[in-house]
Subunit: 428 residues, 2 copies
Amino acid sequence: MSDALDATLNATHDPALCSWVASANAAGCDFPIQNLPFGRFRRAGSGEAWRIGVAIGDQVLDLRAVGLTETDDMNRLMAADPGERRALRQALSRGLAAGSGAEGAWRAALLAQAAAEMAVPCRIGDYTDFYTGIHHATTVGRLFRPDNPLLPNYKWVPIGYHGRASSIGVSGQAVRRPMGQLKGEADAPELGPSRRLDYELELGYLVGAGNAPGCPIGIGEAERHLFGVCLLNDWSARDIQAWEYQPLGPFLSKNFATTLSPWIVTMEALAPFRAPFERPAGDPPPLPYLDAPGHRAHGALDIVLEVWLQTARMRAAGGPAMRLTRGGTRQAAYWTPAQLVAHHTVNGCNLQPGDLLGSGTLSGPAREEAGSLLELTLGGQQPLALPGGDTRAWLEDGDTLVMRGYCERAGAARIGFGEVCGTVVAGA
Amino acid sequence: MSDALDATLNATHDPALCSWVASANAAGCDFPIQNLPFGRFRRAGSGEAWRIGVAIGDQVLDLRAVGLTETDDMNRLMAADPGERRALRQALSRGLAAGSGAEGAWRAALLAQAAAEMAVPCRIGDYTDFYTGIHHATTVGRLFRPDNPLLPNYKWVPIGYHGRASSIGVSGQAVRRPMGQLKGEADAPELGPSRRLDYELELGYLVGAGNAPGCPIGIGEAERHLFGVCLLNDWSARDIQAWEYQPLGPFLSKNFATTLSPWIVTMEALAPFRAPFERPAGDPPPLPYLDAPGHRAHGALDIVLEVWLQTARMRAAGGPAMRLTRGGTRQAAYWTPAQLVAHHTVNGCNLQPGDLLGSGTLSGPAREEAGSLLELTLGGQQPLALPGGDTRAWLEDGDTLVMRGYCERAGAARIGFGEVCGTVVAGA
C-alpha cells in the first residue's frame, strides 16, 4: 500500500500538469500526462515487430526510441520492481511535461494513434477469470436458484476459474458467433450457432513480477505484483454454458474469444483513485490471509464503467451508439485486486509477468448498472428497446459492443482506459 | 485415420527390428526402436539450453547433433505436418537400426538418460483438462449424488475445463502440500494445509499443428493435430475442491502442481495400439461432429496404466513401491483424443502447438483399476493397508507417487511411456 500512497503524493499526479502534446490537455481526454498507460503498437499495415508505446493524448510515444527502455518485450518491462516502474513513470512525466527540454527529441518518437495498430498488450501465459461482482453473482444465481442466489462459499472464497489464453484478442476483434451443443426441450442436444450470445463487462488485472512455485504472495505484498488494469469483454454463449457447465464450470461457452483494451493503465496511475475495502454490515470479515490494515484503507478501485451498443442497422442509419450501462467498481466488486493475488497464490500457485486476472462481471446493484445482457434482459425475458423499434434479448450478428472506463475525483486529473470494442459476425 | 493406418503398416513398427543401442533391445524396455518418443534434455547440472532428444533404450539421442532438425524448439517440431513427422520417424528408425551406417556418427550424439536432466517436454501455452473417465465420473458423482451419479450432459458433451499452465512440472517434481480454505462443521472456513491430498491418473494429449481462431477442426482431421501422448498426474486437494468448486469448477484445488512424464510418445508410435471407439449398448451415439467412420474403427487408444506408491517409511525400510492400480484406457475413457480436439474447436477456439489436453482420471470399472485415492478409499472412508501396518486415506508428506504406462499387443513390439513420479513435501 505504501507504493500507492507514495505515488499519490507524487508530482506525476498533479492535476495542473500539462503536456507539450496538446491533445493530452483537452478536457475529457483519456490519456492526459497523469495517465501514461502502456501498450504494444506498430505503424498500421507495416507488419513490423511490436514495440512498447505510451499513450499521450491522441499520440503514442515509442518508449525505446526515447531511450527509456532497451527492450520491445512488454513482459520484461512488466516484471520490473515497483521502484523501477516509478522511476520510468517519473521520466515519462518529466519528458512529456510542457516546457521539457526533451520535447525536440521526443517529438520524433510520436505516432498518431490513428496511424497505429495495437496488439494484445502483453504475452498472456495464463488467464484466470474471477467472479468478484456480487450483484452479478446474485442476479445470475437468482435465475437458477430463486431462494438461494448466492452460494455459501461466495463471501469467503474469491471464486475464480481458469480461462483460455490463446483466444484473447485486442479491441477491434471480430467475434465469430460460436457453434456449440444446445439443449432445448428435446431429449437430445443439437449442434448449432449460439442463440444467446452475450458480453460481460470486466476489468483485467495484469500481473507484474511473478512468484516462485510454492511461495504464496501475502496480501501486504500483493499490489507489488500487479502492473496495471485494462478493460475486458468476456464474451459468453449462455445457451452453450447452461448445458456444458456442470460439474467443472464454463468452457466452450467462454473460450471462443475474450477481448482486451490495448492500453494498460498502471497501478501508479490509479493511485489517486483508490478506495477503502468495505464489507456490508453483517457480512463476515475476510480470513486473515485476505486482510491487512493498509488494504482496508486503500484496497479497492474507484473506476466508472460503461457499455455501449451499436447495431448494424444503427450504424447504417448513421445513428450514434446507445449506452446500455453505466456503473462502477466501488459497489460492484466484492473482492479487491490484491485479494485475488493473495488468494490465487495461497496454495503455492505461481503467477508470471503478463498473467491476466479477470474481475468477473462488474454489475452495480441497479438494473442500469448491469454488465451483461443476461442481467439487463433477465435471461432474455425482457428484451431491450433500441432506436428504430428494434429489440435485443441477446447479441445479433453485426452488433458492435463498446466498453469504456475512466476515473474522476475532485482534486485529481481525470484519466481513462480508452475502450474495448468488438463486433459479432456470423459463424463459419 | 489414414495416417494411423499408414503408420501401422510402416516398417518402423516391425517387431523384429533391433537397434545398435543394445539397451533398446532388452525385454520390457519402454523405449525400443519401435517407440522413439521426444523430450527436452540437457546434461544434468550443466545449465545448458534444452535440446530435443529421442529416447532409445537407456540413452537419449540428440536430434540436432545428428542433423535431423535445425531447431532446439520442440514446439516448432510439433507444429510440423504429419508427412514431415513420418519422415522424421523413418529417418530415426533407419539410423538407429542394427546395421545402420549411421551408427558411427550417431553414437557420439548419445547421452545416457541417467546423466540427463529432463524438462517439461514443450512450452505449454494452454492446458485443458477433460473428464473422459466415465467410471471415475460415476464413482465421484455417487459420493455426492447417490441416486444420480452421472449428470445428464455427460454422454453428450466431452466435459472439460481449463487448467493452469504455469504450474506444470516434469517427473521428479517435489509437490508442496497446498494451503487453502477448508470448510468443516464450523460456520466459517479456515486456512490450513490440505488434509485430503490426492493424485489423478491421466494421459496428456499434446497438440501438434494448431488451428486458426474461428476455424473448427473436423473429427476426420483431428488426429492430424495431435503430436503425441504422455502421462499426467493431476494432483488434487479434495478438501479445498469441495469448498471452492461451486459454481465455476476446481481452481486452487488443482493448480498448485501438475506433473508430466518427460517423453512424448507420438501418435505414429501408437498406431499399432489403436482400438475401436465403442459405446455401451443403450448409450446415445455421439453427435455427428464427434463421429466419423474411420474414427469408429480406430479412434480409441489401448494403453495399460499403473500407479505405484512408496512412502517415506517404505523407502527407509528399503522396501519396494506398492502397486495401487493397474488399469487401462480401453474401458476407462468414454471419449477419444480426436473427439476432444473436435469438441474443443467446434466453437472456433484455437489450439496451438504444445497445448495440453488432459484425459481426466482414467479409472476402470473395478476398484483395483481406480486412478485416484478418492475412488480407492471411497472418499477416505476405507483407507488402504500398506506394508508395515501403515494405512493411507490420503497422501502424506514424503509419499512418492509413480505412474507408468505401456502398450502390449500380440504381433507388435511393446512400447512404454516411462514414468511420471512426484513426491509430496510439507507446506511452507
